[in-house]
């Protein structure tokens, strides 16, 4: 039986090892923050952090995450995660909200590795699609979250 850790909780898993992580999270754990948007790794709405790195959960199987640690939007509550969420709220970066869990997780990873990202670094990292076109405010929210506390 596979053992994996999700948002700090360890699980023993009997699920089909070939099942994509996205559907495991949604169907087996009721964690609906990761969304299905394309199913083939193009849109990023299914993004979660796997050992801290953003991955597209539609492209990773349960087998592949054995022994690893997954953070979903529901579990992103460390100091940086909270700062990113607060910046999102302050800048009103969300429209329909469907892509936003993916955006927020990607931003949290970017800011962990690059605390003061340039616009070019934001362009390169923030690749989750947003059909509502909230990009300008998403960019502003990343900059706002990067601001050192006064």
């Amino acid at each position: 039986m596979a053992s994996i850790k999700i948002n700090g909780v360890g699980y023993a898993v009997r699920t089909d090892p070939q099942k994509p992580l996205l559907w495991f999270l949604r169907e087996d754990l009721g964690l609906n923050g990761a969304k299905y948007g394309c199913g083939i790794g193009l849109c990023g709405t299914c993004t979660v952090l796997l050992d801290g790195e953003p991955v597209k959960s539609c492209q990773v199987t349960v087998e592949e995450i054995t022994g690893k640690e997954v953070t979903t939007i529901e579990g992103l509550d460390d100091e940086l995660g909270q700062k990113v969420k607060a910046a999102w709220i302050e800048t009103e970066a969300s429209q329909c909200g469907f892509c936003q869990p993916g955006q927020v997780l990607t931003a949290a990873h970017l800011l962990r590795t690059t605390p003061q990202p340039t616009d070019t670094q934001i362009d390169e990292s923030m690749t989750t699609l947003c059909r509502c076109g909230a990009y300008q405010r998403i960019r502003a929210a990343v900059h706002a979250a990067a601001k050192p506390e006064e």
């Binding site: 087996d28 709405t45 969420k85 009103e92 990009y135």
Partner: protein, 720 residues
């Protein structure tokens, strides 16, 4: 005020709460168990008693004010806008305001707030319901005042309200929470007094949306997130040829014998494969080969055949939709004439959340949970297609992961009901992205022929135009021409003495539907591209030319002057870039845009910046207006640059974001929004950023290169 203000009689229930839907646990939880650190999070705090004022407003004893939202929340922030208008008249403290999305029932679905459209579309939620919403807030306030007056034994006129509190000079104050129960027992005032807008405190100020916190925590419940006890999943496969039906159902049902799938259910134009997991359902569906009754006509459909049908329609006389003066005579007498033909392709919606609907059938009762822009349409269409009474259908609205006009349709609801009825289980039917792209109700392909005549002084004296394309509303309309086909075409914003404007309805054999900005999405491109051609042909500055044509209308002129100032017209912010302008109207809102574009020696074009000046009348929430215009520009720009659905052998050729791309963050230029101060009635904003951007960019490309683009997308002509 009409008696429909009292809604106690016809609303039966609401389901999807503000923070979440907690109907059941995931059904596959047997396969997984926490082995450490699993905290029990089901602590249930006491909930204060809540009282209905019969006005789509509930106030609980703690003072929490919940406005019930009958409009679809799809990212436009409508719930916040509605709550702001109600709170303004109610004199409520903004921190007390909450909302709840409610489902609609057949009896009242056509009459949210007593009137208006059964759909959330055409940017009309605020513009149509503004006064009604104010009346609702004002009536609730009067009920709370009356309750306080009775409590203190004083005249209501001696009381004032502020920040969710009723005040009296000597008795002190009572909060709305303290008065809610008494107020809920009072009659609803039928003619409440509205505030003088000069005293508005909330309307016109930037307010934070009430739902952003849930969204960034992944807690908002979208259609995709609905969970029912015992729920199974349905994967949809449509016949790849548009309009065809499945003919080998029995073989498909036999083929799933040794798979995880439980059923194959026939639906119009396809099947639903039902399984305990959507992953299993999709896998089995992928393995099935659908045989169909595709006809030679259906198979012959292609983008080329669509273009030739449109071209042929354009040669027909058409119906006249507007006349002024004598356009043929003025054209014949004109010093210079210009003629052009424009064409736009089919476009997909690609809402970030693909179609999804959960259905539960219990005897003759049907319950549906889905993201929809038209709960009433769902009730009507499901009832009609399955021949069941409308009263047996209950619709629960969820958040929408994008709507853009696609979720006005009920096709996915019908599929879910069929799957639930046949399997006897609650079924969540989910579309794969490929189904979404290939079985959309597309923005129709359209064409237009435009002719303009200028006199020796460069005045536009004659305007003869004709557009041709399919009707979205379809046959059997009570008027000769589908108004959506000619929106933004039959009434040009410019003063032109002689006009003849015609329309030819043209069937294409492709399912078409509402697409953010509807008819304006093509007609603004036709009209504003062509106006630019006339300016250029007569050697006039395109913005000065437009200003001259609206000089008698101060409102129009102000919008053009605003964009002129914002964009520093004539001096692009990026060296080497060129500017293009456009001007449109829709849903009572005027928008002028300037795009800055450059084209490199390798013919690759870049949009550097877009300026948008907006007059949407009285602004409710300027922050939401800015967000909607920015998002609209991105949506319109995706379409202008690369948007195109093509068809070959009756099948849509695109399938996902790789061949039907949308703009990325890196590609998105900054969009600067300028809001013109206005006390005119509020106009719509959800669609108003969309249609002006294509002509602004195309006009800028002409200014940069001398190349005139009359056929979208731009990627047909330049690298993007």
């Amino acid at each position: 005020m009409a008696s429909e203000m009292n809604r106690r009689t016809f609303i039966k229930a609401t389901v999807v709460g503000f923070t979440g839907l907690t109907i059941g646990c995931p059904d596959n939880s047997d396969d997984v168990e926490p082995i450490d650190g699993g905290a029990d999070t089901n602590g249930d705090a006491g909930v204060p008693e809540s009282y209905s004022l019969d006005l789509w407003i509930n106030i609980d004893a703690s003072g929490k004010i919940t406005v019930q939202i009958v409009k679809a929340e799809m990212g436009q922030g409508i719930s916040t806008g509605i709550a702001m208008i109600v709170a303004e008249e109610l004199d409520a403290a903004w921190k007390d305001m909450y909302f709840e999305l409610v489902g609609e029932f057949a009896e009242n679905a056509y009459a949210p707030y007593g009137f208006g459209s059964p759909m959330t579309s055409a940017s009309t939620s605020i513009s149509v319901n503004y006064t009604r919403l104010r009346e609702i807030g004002a009536a609730a306030r009067e009920m709370l005042v009356a309750a306080a007056a009775a409590r203190w034994g004083v005249e209501p006129a001696t009381l004032t309200t502020a920040e969710s509190t009723v005040l009296h000079p000597s008795h002190g104050s009572l909060t709305y929470g303290e008065l809610a129960e008494d107020a809920s027992n009072l009659p609803v005032p039928q003619e409440p007094t509205l505030k003088d807008p000069a005293r508005f405190k909330l309307i016109g100020t930037p307010a934070h949306r009430l739902d952003t916190t849930d969204m960034v925590n992944g807690k908002s419940v979208f259609g995709q997130d609905v969970v029912l006890p015992g729920m199974v999943y349905g994967a949809v496969r449509h016949c790849s040829v548009l309009g065809a039906h499945v003919t080998n159902l029995a073989a498909l049902q036999a083929a799933i014998a040794d798979t995880a799938a439980m059923a194959v259910v026939q639906i119009p134009h396809g099947i639903v494969v039902v399984a305990p997991s959507i992953w299993q359902a999709q896998k089995v569906a992928d393995s099935l080969v659908l045989e169909t009754d595709a006809t030679p006509t259906q198979l012959a459909l292609s983008s080329d055949s669509i273009s030739s049908t449109l071209a042929e329609c354009l040669t027909k006389p058409g119906l006249n939709v507007h006349t002024a003066g004598d356009a043929p005579a003025a054209m014949a007498a004109a010093e210079t004439t210009v003629e052009a033909v424009y064409e736009v392709p089919l476009l997909a919606h690609e809402t970030m959340e693909p179609m999804v609907c959960t259905a539960r059938v219990d005897g003759d009762q049907i319950e549906l949970w889905l993201p929809t822009q038209g709960a009433a349409v769902v009730v009507r269409d499901v009832a009609a297609q399955l021949q069941i009474p409308e009263a047996s259908i209950t619709v629960h609205a969820t958040h929408l992961g994008g709507g853009f006009g696609r979720k006005v349709k009920a096709d996915y609801a019908v599929q879910a009901v069929l799957a639930a009825r046949e399997t006897g289980e609650p079924v969540k039917v989910m579309w794969a992205r490929k189904e979404d792209v290939q079985h959309d109700f597309y923005r129709p392909a359209f064409t237009a022929e435009l002719k303009g005549g200028l006199d020796a002084q460069g005045n536009l004296v004659a305007w003869m135009t004709k557009n041709a394309g399919p009707s979205i509303l379809g046959d059997g309309l009570p008027f000769p021409v589908d108004p959506l086909s000619i929106a933004g075409f039959n009434q040009v914003l410019y003063e032109i003495p002689n006009q003849q404007i015609d329309h030819v309805a043209c069937k294409l054999g492709v399912p078409v539907g509402f697409w953010r900005s509807i008819g304006h999405s093509q007609n603004a491109f036709f009209v504003e591209g062509f106006i630019d051609e006339l300016a250029v042909a007569s050697g006039q500055d395109p913005l000065a030319f437009r200003k001259k044509l609206v000089h008698n209308d101060p409102r129009h002129l102000a919008v053009l002057e605003r964009v002129e100032a914002m964009s520093n017209w004539g001096t692009p912010s990026v060296p080497g870039a060129a500017q293009g302008v456009s001007f449109t109207e829709g849903s009572g809102t005027y928008t002028a845009q300037v795009a800055e574009v450059s084209v490199d020696p390798g013919n690759k074009m870049t949009v550097h910046k877009v300026y948008a000046a907006v007059d949407c009348g009285r602004v409710i929430n300027p922050d939401a207006v800015e967000a909607q215009i920015q998002g609209g520009v991105v949506f319109g720009l995706s379409a202008a640059l690369t948007g195109e659905i093509t068809i070959q052998n009756g099948q849509v050729q695109q399938s996902n974001f790789h061949d039907c791309p949308i703009l990325t963050l890196a590609d998105t230029p900054p969009v600067e929004v300028g809001i013109v101060d206005s006390t005119e009635p509020p106009g719509g904003v959800g669609e108003l950023g969309v249609s002006p951007v294509a002509p602004a960019v195309v006009n800028a490309i002409h200014a940069a290169t001398g190349t005139r683009i009359r056929r979208l997308p731009i990627s047909r002509h330049f690298g993007t």
